[in-house]
Amino acid sequence: MDQRRRLRLSLGLGVLTLLLVVAGLAAGSEGWSLTELVRLLSGSDGATIVGQIRAPRTLGAWCVGALLGLAGAMAQGLFRNPLADPYLLGTAAGASLGVVLLLAAGAFAGSSFNLATMALLARFGLVGAAFGGALVGVLLTLALARGAQETVRLLLAGVVVGVVLSALADLVTTAVPDALRGKQVFMLGSTGFLGWGSCLALGVGLLVCVPIAWRWSRALDALTLGEDSARSLGIDLSWARVALVGAMALATGLAVSQAGLVAFVGLVSPHLVQRFAPAPHGYSVVASAAAGGALLLLADVCARSLIAPQEIPVGVLTALLGGGYLLWLLRRWRLT
């Protein structure tokens, strides 16, 4: 029964992703149409418009969503908390503080970065800063909450850390306005300028994080029975924590450094997967990544085609979709 549902979900996500990729390639500044796509591909513009703009943007949006979905699934499993997500743990706020600090340092040194178009070396520096910030954020939260045992304490600590770190980031941008010219874009998330360089960084990140999540998924399964049971199963929890927190910080840091703050994808994707196909973590972390990718790609396609040739910030759409889903979830909880 469960096996079949999992198969159905995998197939569904696969088909949906394929459809969205086609939609992503077809959705352009003139709204979206397949005939236009065929015309573009046969013309001379195709290499630029489809090959250099739409393809990396589509792939990049999927990767950002996948990293966030993966980070969310790891957080929810590790902290045994259905509301754990890169946002509520201070990870995203930490990552954005890291990004802002690096940009401020750049502005002081007389150079100005653009998130999407920076040179490769600067890109690695940025990912490093975001990763460091994300790690600091989640560790602060854990320290404040004295571990992850108590849901309420963990969430409160996460909220406090998130608020304080984003206030610090705001303070930096007020003091050094040059640090973040496109501040609004960063805060609302943007997929507009994802190029092949971003895709490479994001892809490498996925290749690193997914195996880590997969490798420690048994620890997540064991944790659902409680820490003592997990230990009695012979699982080294401290190593599992280090690996998973590290992978989560890396996934969130990468996503934030390339696309800014995109809300709710990390929270919603694991929920969707659990709803459609309850499964051990080995399956659900990978499926959450796939669901996150599909979700952000859907939001991106909508963002560029709803009022083309203008755009809606993609983070606004994910917040609307995710917020709506959460409200619906809360209502169901109350009813049952």
């Binding site: 352009g28 500044s29 003139e30 513009d45 630029t48 418009i49 250099q52 703009i53 739409r54 990396p56 943007r57 100005s112 653009n114 999407a116 178009t117 920076m118 040179a119 010219r181 496109g182 609004q184 874009v185 943007s190 507009g192 300028f193 994802l194 190029g195 092949w196 560029r304 083309a308 040739p309 203008q310 755009e311 910030p313």
Partner: protein, 292 residues
């Protein structure tokens, strides 16, 4: 008898300006509100750079007692107390300056608070050429020299005409992409920058129906292949690295106008220096025509 008349006339001539200054002024701002000022204001606070510039263009710079933090032209306003920005104006400091009138933009959040403190607040919009002209008229009426506003405006018009005449025939009607932010946001046909470009005979790739400042899909810029690209210098340098933007023919052929610092500020301020901005754009278009 003749001597007496002369004395009277002399007295009148002496007292007339004082009488004028003491006359109450009735002004109508862009909210449609009637603002009553007991006399020509001697202490003015301006919370928008373009309004600061307008006050100075009307020869009343000496009456400014404070400005927002971005006002930096003419040089004399730099030394004035800086009172914050549109969203974070420092109400207490403004009140302490005891201004006779505070000039603000419609989006300012302080208007109600300042009025609540009994200050006169004049709300002036400056989003289009017409707005700038109207602001100049209202401000000159406020300063007791109603005809000065039109005089300044005629100066701007002269600059527009002179700049337009200088735009080479080869450049006229060319399609321009004017980037105001790397997001990318563009100055559309209906913005004041777009209006200036139209006065110079240029076409805009962002039509009026998309609004004054449209957030564009980056692909749109690549597909429309503008003939000329205008932006801040460092964004311009950055553009070839944006995905797909290397294919922009204007970038490849260096048909670009880059502006840095003070020169860019001049372009994005809807105030009395719009004529200078138009002349600067014409300079660049002339240089581009020579390159071809």
């Amino acid at each position: 008898m003749g001597r007496r008349v002369v004395v009277w006339v002399a007295w009148l001539a002496l007292l007339w300006p004082l009488a004028m200054a003491a006359q109450p002024l009735n002004l109508r701002d862009d909210r449609g509100m009637q603002i009553m000022l007991p006399s020509v204001p001697k202490r003015i606070v301006s919370l928008l750079p373009s309004l600061t510039e307008s006050v100075c263009a009307l020869d009343a710079c000496a009456r400014l007692v404070g400005t927002d933090r971005y006002s930096n032209w003419p040089a004399s306003v730099v030394a004035l107390p800086k009172l914050g920005g549109l969203d974070d104006a420092q109400i207490e400091r403004i009140a302490a300056l005891k201004p006779d009138v505070v000039l603000v933009a419609p989006s300012a959040r302080v208007t109600e608070r300042l009025e609540g403190l009994g200050l006169n607040v004049l709300v002036l919009d400056s989003r289009s050429h017409d707005d700038v002209r109207r602001s100049l008229q209202v401000l000159s009426a406020m300063l007791g020299a109603p005809e000065a506003g039109e005089r300044v405006w005629r100066g701007i018009e002269r600059d527009f005409a002179e700049a337009a005449a200088r735009v080479p025939i080869a450049m006229r009607g060319r399609r321009v992409y004017f980037e105001v932010d790397t997001t990318p946001y563009a100055a559309g046909e209906s913005s004041f920058i777009g209006q200036t470009l139209a006065r110079l005979g240029m076409t805009n790739i962002v039509p009026a129906e998309l609004g004054s400042f449209a957030k564009l899909n980056p692909e749109y810029v690549v597909r429309t292949q503008p003939d000329v690209i205008m932006a801040v210098d460092h964004s311009l340098r950055d553009m070839p690295r944006r995905p797909g933007w290397g294919a922009l023919r204007a970038l490849r052929a260096h048909r670009t106008c880059g502006f840095e610092g003070a020169r860019y500020e001049l372009l994005v301020r809807p105030g009395p220096r719009m004529g200078d901005a138009a002349r600067m754009l014409a300079d660049c278009l002339e240089t581009l025509a020579e390159q071809r």
